[in-house]
């Protein structure tokens, strides 16, 4: 079974809303609809997969299962389980021979992105992937500003290490504007991050 995310595609409604709703431009922006950034990424991944453009999946939440019941004539029920800390990032996959590995993070802040959104194990995992020539990045969403950025792993790690030294709590938007690639949200895919990946790959050539 696959999770169905709240239907955000304007041309396809399951809830029987009148067609008039479909041309309300405000509906198109996922931020206005209260859709979380992660869900917009999941929809974009689905779009890329369906169109044969990339294979990227969100990893399941790691869980330690302690007790499972097997009731008669029905599916197994997990009765006791605990959340485990992830040892990797949330998303990975393949795009035209490139290994992609990334996290999607959002903030309500308007002038900077808090470093507390990133965890040591994520940074460590990115370092390991970069060593193997993987393409690592983070997608940063400023929900109040409705702006999205692609920040590559090398730069994230650089600023991450700098903040540890300098005790800075966040990465200023002004820095992000300079060193990251801005992504303009669209209808489909909602977050066209492969465009930023292409731009990044061109700068590496």
């Amino acid at each position: 079974m696959v999770f169905k995310y709240p239907n955000g595609h304007p041309n396809h409604y399951d809830d029987g809303l009148p067609p008039k709703k479909q041309i309300n431009k405000k509906e198109i922006n996922f931020a206005n609809r209260g859709m979380r950034f992660e869900e917009a990424i999941n929809q974009s991944n689905q779009y890329y997969l369906t169109h044969g453009l990339a294979v990227v999946h969100k990893k399941p939440i790691p869980i330690q299962i302690v007790k499972v019941d097997y009731p008669r004539r029905s599916a197994a029920v997990i009765k006791e389980a605990y959340f485990k800390e992830a040892s990797t990032t949330d998303y990975n996959g393949v795009y035209q021979g490139h290994y992609l590995d990334f996290e999607a993070k959002e903030t309500k802040n308007k002038t900077s992105f808090p470093f507390k959104n990133f965890h040591d194990h994520q940074i460590k995992h990115m370092e390991e992937c970069l060593q193997q020539k993987g393409l690592c990045f983070v997608l940063l969403w400023f929900s109040t500003l409705k702006r999205c950025f692609f920040l590559d792993g090398e730069q994230l790690i650089f600023y991450w290490k700098q903040q540890k030294k300098n005790n800075r709590a966040s990465l200023p938007l002004k820095v992000i504007e300079k060193c990251a690639i801005e992504i303009t949200p669209k209808v489909a895919p909602r977050i066209p991050y492969l465009t930023a990946v292409n731009t990044y790959l061109q700068t590496k050539e």
Copy 2:
């Protein structure tokens, strides 16, 4: 928190067994110790990660969480959850710029590998990854024979489609011996599958 698998490394015991045990050669073979194939793969991944050779992780089991309790002063407890069907393969990662994607399967059979070990969604996922120039394969373990094979995705898909036509229930060992790359289990990593990956990459050049 990370799962600790039963300690299979002969030079490092947590269970306080006397050193004499450590040189018992039979202990080295994970099959003799009742260690499951998947655990041997997980240990191999850990070895590759620690030695900076590849970054490959097993994906968590996909679960649909229905009810979570938050008891005071302790961790959240999942009280009701269900297993979901995976939409991908179990393992993926990056190795020297290559996207790796694979499944690990075992059989007690001695003369053939049953196709029922593979599911439609896994085959579909492999087709999608191959289209994106990912390196897909399966690791086949004949537990009775103690023989391990690397079978690349293209060939698996070819035989998978053939069996659907011809109603064959399994892939004969004789075919596997011809078209797959045999992997000799070792002490560390227990299943040195990167050796087979290298051999495969050489044939593709």
